[in-house]
């Protein structure tokens, strides 16, 4: 018996709860479940930036946390750093810095980045020390696991898991197809 691989759908839609770049009502929606310490996610970061650039004004990109802590010991800490920056209105600055950083995610490095991007360091350290955003990270992981995330990065294009190649052209084609299917 041969069956098509089942479609995996995003179980929690993108809302204003999410960290998004672009408008929620944009023509194209791309969601990434990622881990800042995962080499494949780090390789995908410039790809996503290229997709954002080429679909500028038409794309809503949402990033959700999916740290695989047993494989990447600092991944939860890095995710907490992004969320703590988000609480101070600078999620994306921290997000980009985390993916681009080559110095590792020891706490002192995370604090250094926080200072460099102008965060209130005292508050940032307090938030990390208290694990204040761990529940939020677990919410992301729960929605990811229920949506068929099976590794990082996992992308959802128009709410459907993307199993294609993680390059910009393939992602853009998939996004355009998803929008065409939606409007048809």
């Amino acid at each position: 018996m041969t069956l098509a691989t089942p479609v995996h759908r995003l179980t929690v839609p993108v809302t204003d709860r999410d960290h998004v770049r672009g408008d929620l009502g944009a023509r194209f929606t791309l969601v990434e479940y990622g881990d800042y310490e995962c080499p494949f996610c780090r390789a995908a970061h410039p790809v996503v930036q290229e997709v954002e650039h080429r679909l500028s004004g038409q794309l809503c990109f949402a990033y959700r946390q999916f740290p695989i802590v047993n494989a990447h010991p600092h991944a939860v800490r890095a995710a907490q750093a992004a969320e703590a920056a988000g609480a101070q209105g600078q999620f994306w600055l921290m997000h980009d810095r985390l993916f681009e950083s080559s110095t590792g995610f020891a706490d002192e490095n995370l604090v250094r980045i926080a200072v460099q991007i102008g965060l209130d360091a005292r508050r940032f350290i307090a938030d990390l020390s208290a694990n204040r955003y761990l529940d939020r990270i677990r919410e992301d992981m729960a929605s990811g696991a229920r949506s068929g995330v099976n590794g990082t990065p996992t992308f959802f294009v128009g709410g459907v898991r993307y199993d294609g190649r993680p390059d910009a052209v393939s992602l853009i084609i998939a996004l355009q197809r998803s929008a065409a299917a939606f409007s048809a």
Binding site: T2, L3, A4, I68, V69, N70, R138, A142, A145, N150
Partner: protein, 162 residues
């Protein structure tokens, strides 16, 4: 791509078994009665897909905890191999050795690939009474994720409430 979602096993009692889960530990399925159990048969320690799949399960263990579900993974690898693999990947749930006679328990679950000599990538969710609530077999090269497991646990919880 072939994928078997429903073989004739749902609702049947899961075959009980006792196997080593380490050089000096034993896994006995019936000891877990009273809790839902997730059994993950997988082809081989160290393979990339198995590593990804089990790492993901480890990362979301707290999701299984919410159902008081126990997770155990089964392959034909030996106990020392399992121990090294678990330590390297940071896995804290039992890795069970279906090593001697090779694949005997996997065969009981119709989850053995005789032509390859290793277990299928097969997921089973058992209810607290040890009945098979749900199961799925995917090709060895495919990572099934955990969405099917979590849906089965959700369904079971919904049934037990009504």
């Amino acid at each position: 791509m072939s994928r078997s979602n429903e073989r004739e096993v749902s609702g049947k009692e899961a075959p009980d078994f006792t196997l080593p889960s380490g050089p000096d530990s034993v896994f006995h399925l019936a000891d877990l009665r009273g809790r839902p159990v997730v059994l993950a048969f997988y082809p081989a320690d160290w393979s990339p897909v198995c590593s990804d799949q089990l790492s993901l399960d480890q990362a979301i263990l707290h999701e299984f905890d919410a159902y008081t579900a126990a997770l155990a993974a089964v392959s034909v690898d030996g106990t020392w191999c399992h121990r090294a693999f678990a330590e390297a990947r940071g896995l804290t749930f039992p890795l069970v050795s279906d090593f001697e006679p090779k694949g005997a328990v996997s065969r009981m679950y119709d989850a053995y690939r005789s032509e390859d000599g290793f277990s299928e990538r097969a997921l089973f969710v058992l209810d607290p009474e040890g009945r098979i609530e749900w199961h799925e077999v995917v090709p060895p090269e495919e990572n099934p994720g955990a969405d099917g497991i979590l849906r089965a646990l959700d369904d079971m919880t919904a049934h037990s409430v009504t």
